[in-house]
């Protein structure tokens, strides 16, 4: 028995020794000697992760080598929360890839460093960018992020089903060879494209607002602002917003609340062959340019009707090769055309990052025109920059990329409302869209209630902000 005690002590000592020698610590082994290592956390995995990995490798082998900077790139789930925790703990990464709606949120709570001086030093100004993305990266007049990949939303439609229903469309005075030009026309297309089974259940829907990822932003197509551009004050009960949600309710009324709900619950996941658009269960949807990638992965025959996909073809031939087409999502406001919503993935330097200058070298590299085009081709997205090459438009994996690019550059391009309470507003509008679709609720009343609740939040945030300023606690 006397042997047990020394053995236990020896084992404990050995374990402690192993932890001390091999345990967690800042790993600098990836970076060559004399290089500054920039930690970069990103939300992506799969092909999108690999797309950015190619850019990181390019940087490390060119600009990074020249300036003695090495970027260590890590895929991170729940990037928003982990970045925030790391800021709180004082050990943030040098770069974090967050979602657009978090830029204002992080800026408001001091979790991101302003980038104005760094951007200016690198010659990155508003003129270099498409205004909509520059505005989305700014908060209270300061720049807090730059775009890694943008995503402009357009109308995507199934040409084959348009063709199938061409007789009915023509009989109604509509043209099956083009997309609807007004929202009123869009509703008529949608109704004709709906299909019901013998039991009355929906088998195919022309369009379902509730199925769209962009219900909270629908107001833009009705001329609304959603939030005041200067102050971020919610404007949810404006006549335009009420009109937008009345339109959402109109679809539920026409299709039947119960039928619509059953149909919605029966639809498959977006990133699967059961995607309702790919299954032909939804004829029109609001989507970004990345849809071409999902089509290629989950239903390649959608882009290979005539012969296998070939990016070297002329654009018109490539488009003819697709079962699907793209057009601007029509506006409800007469004369206001090319309305779009523009989302993006942003790169920020979290507060307390150890190497902000070196981090920005990489962010600036990602925003170099040739690099940005390469990354956005790999991600199948449009480009955030004002100028893109003809090659980008001609050989992008999405043959309709020019439409997305034009929408983003247009005068009616909108981005995420820059408000410190956008996350709450977003959820409020999701809830309201469900309420008006599932219950006999008056949209004006529902939006008024939503506005009242959001105003309470907004005023509270302002009140606390003023108190902070008064006490000098920021």
């Amino acid at each position: 028995m006397r042997i047990i005690k020394p053995v236990v002590y020896a084992l404990l000592g050995l374990t402690a020794g192993i932890f001390l020698v091999l345990g967690s610590r800042q790993n600098k082994s990836d970076a060559p000697a004399g290089f500054t290592m920039v930690e970069y956390w990103e939300k992506w995995n799969g092909p999108e992760f690999l797309g950015m990995k190619a850019i990181v490798d390019d940087f490390n082998n060119t600009v990074g080598r020249e300036k003695k900077i090495f970027v260590r790139y890590m895929s991170m789930s729940e990037i928003d929360r982990k970045t925030l925790m790391s800021v709180a703990a004082g050990v943030p990464p040098d770069i974090a890839g967050i979602w657009d709606q978090q830029v204002a949120q992080y800026a408001a709570i001091g979790a991101a460093e302003p980038l104005d001086d760094l951007a200016k030093a690198h010659g990155i100004t508003k003129d270099y960018y498409l205004p909509v993305f520059w505005d989305g990266c700014s908060y209270h007049g300061h720049l807090y992020a730059l775009v890694s990949t943008p995503g402009t939303v357009a109308l995507i439609y199934n040409k084959q089903i348009y063709e199938e229903c061409s007789g009915a469309l023509r009989a109604a005075g509509l043209d099956p060879d083009r997309t609807p030009r007004t929202l009123e026309e869009f509703d008529r297309y949608s109704e004709i494209l709906d299909k019901r089974g013998a039991d009355g259940n929906i088998e195919r829907a022309g369009y379902i607002p509730l199925q769209s990822w962009y219900v909270p932003q629908l107001g833009y197509w009705f001329g609304a602002e959603i939030a005041d551009q200067a102050t971020g004050r919610p404007e949810l009960d404006s006549p335009e917003m009420v009109r937008a949600f009345t339109w959402v309710q109109g679809y539920a009324k026409r299709l039947g609340e119960r039928s619509l709900n059953d149909f919605k619950n029966s639809l498959g996941n977006f990133d699967s062959p059961q995607n309702p658009f790919l299954e032909g269960k939804e004829v029109m949807d609001q989507q970004g340019p990345w849809m071409a990638n999902y089509i290629r992965n989950n239903k390649p025959e959608f882009s290979e009707v005539l012969v296998p996909l070939d990016r070297q073809w002329e654009l018109k031939d490539r488009r003819a090769n697709c079962v699907w087409g793209v057009g601007p999502f029509p506006s409800a406001v007469a004369g206001k055309e090319m309305v779009s919503y523009n989302s993006f993935d942003g790169l920020i330097i979290p507060t307390g990052a150890r190497h902000p200058k070196e981090a920005f070298e990489f962010i600036a590299y990602v925003n170099r025109q040739d690099v940005s085009e390469k990354l956005n081709i790999l991600h199948c997205k449009n480009c955030q920059l004002r100028h893109v090459s003809a090659d980008f438009l001609a050989h992008h994996p999405n043959p309709y990329i020019a439409i997305f690019q034009e929408l983003a550059a247009g005068p009616n391009a909108h981005c995420v409302p820059v408000s410190p309470i956008w996350a709450e507003m977003y959820q409020e509008m999701i809830d309201t869209s469900q309420a008006v679709s599932l219950e006999p609720v008056d949209p004006a009343e529902a939006m008024h209630k939503a506005q009242a609740r959001m105003m309470e939040r907004y005023e509270r945030v302002n009140r606390i902000e003023q108190e902070r300023e008064r006490l000098g606690i920021n």
Partner: protein, 293 residues
């Protein structure tokens, strides 16, 4: 204390110090801090943005917050169904599994198995079973020519989740079974000799002797139902139209989606207070129905 006792005391403390330090750093200190943050505007980004003392503002705001009341009502509604259903079903199953029947261990294993399935996996399975078009429930109802309900629609979503919660009672059943082994056989035999039938023996001997175990399971069920999050978050995400939006979901959203950590701390303390009041009521009532020995 002799020097030997002192030495042993310090030795003992040294051995348990990892747990004491761990508890202090990862549990006691965060609990204390969350109490303080409940009175602050705080978004995790100190020292850049230090917590700002705002007194009772978070708590006052909370009582005017319609989502707070909605989430609380939903949680109480769910608890009022899931708690008694879980208690009755687990107790009933334990009593049945305690009977000496052929294949008893197999039945016990079958009942226990679902509680071993990860929450995410079981949520996905149930989501498909509840599916209005392809779900097994509606397929069976269709064969019986019964109009298939929308199980996860606004009206039925909450009862469906409560029904589903019964699926994971395996752990509670095992605790009941252990308790049933401790019911003195001599008491049951004495009752039988005195002419007590099966039901009489159950209500006059088995259940009173099992009451401390029932009480334990009741306390655990109160805590469990009031802190439910994972499964409804996966299946309904609180919808449709906030019909299944639970208190813990709201707490989570305020903390990590809206970054109002101070407000979320206040919500957490209110949740603790509610759970403590309910647990206190259970303890108060226990004097009347729990029999020790």
């Amino acid at each position: 204390m002799t020097s030997e006792e002192r030495r042993n005391f310090f030795k003992g403390m040294a051995f348990i110090s990892p747990w004491i330090i761990g508890f202090a750093v990862f549990t006691a200190v965060p609990i204390g801090l969350s109490f303080y943050y409940g009175f602050c505007d705080f978004a995790l980004t100190a020292p850049r943005r230090a917590p700002l003392w705002i007194g009772l503002d978070n708590y006052q705001q909370l009582f005017h917050d319609v989502v707070f009341w909605k989430a609380l009502r939903n949680t109480v509604y769910y608890a009022s169904m899931a708690l008694p259903a879980g208690m009755l079903v687990s107790l009933g199953l334990a009593l049945m599994l305690n009977a000496r029947i052929r294949g008893q261990t197999v039945y016990r294993a079958i009942i226990f198995l679902p509680s071993l399935v990860p929450a995410f996996a079981s949520a996905m399975i149930w989501m498909w079973m509840f599916n209005p078009s392809m779900g097994v429930f509606n397929m069976l109802l269709g064969k019986l020519h019964v109009a298939p309900p929308d199980w996860l629609g606004e009206r039925l979503a909450m009862p469906s989740l409560a029904f589903m919660s019964v699926w994971g009672v395996g752990n509670t059943v095992v605790i009941y079974l252990a308790g049933l082994q401790d019911v003195p056989r001599e008491l049951l035999e004495a009752a039988e000799i005195d002419g007590a039938g099966t039901w009489r023996r159950m209500f006059s001997v088995t259940l009173p002797m099992l009451s401390p175990v029932i009480f334990f399971n009741l306390i655990m069920a109160i805590i469990g139902t009031f802190s439910i999050l994972t499964v409804p978050y996966i299946i309904t995400s609180g919808g449709p139209n906030k019909a299944t939006y639970f208190y813990t979901m709201y707490n989570y959203d305020e903390a990590f989606k809206y970054l109002n950590m101070g407000y979320a701390s206040a919500l957490a303390w209110i949740q603790l207070a509610i759970t403590m009041v309910l647990t206190g009521l259970a303890f108060w009532s226990a004097k009347k129905w729990v029999h020790y020995g």
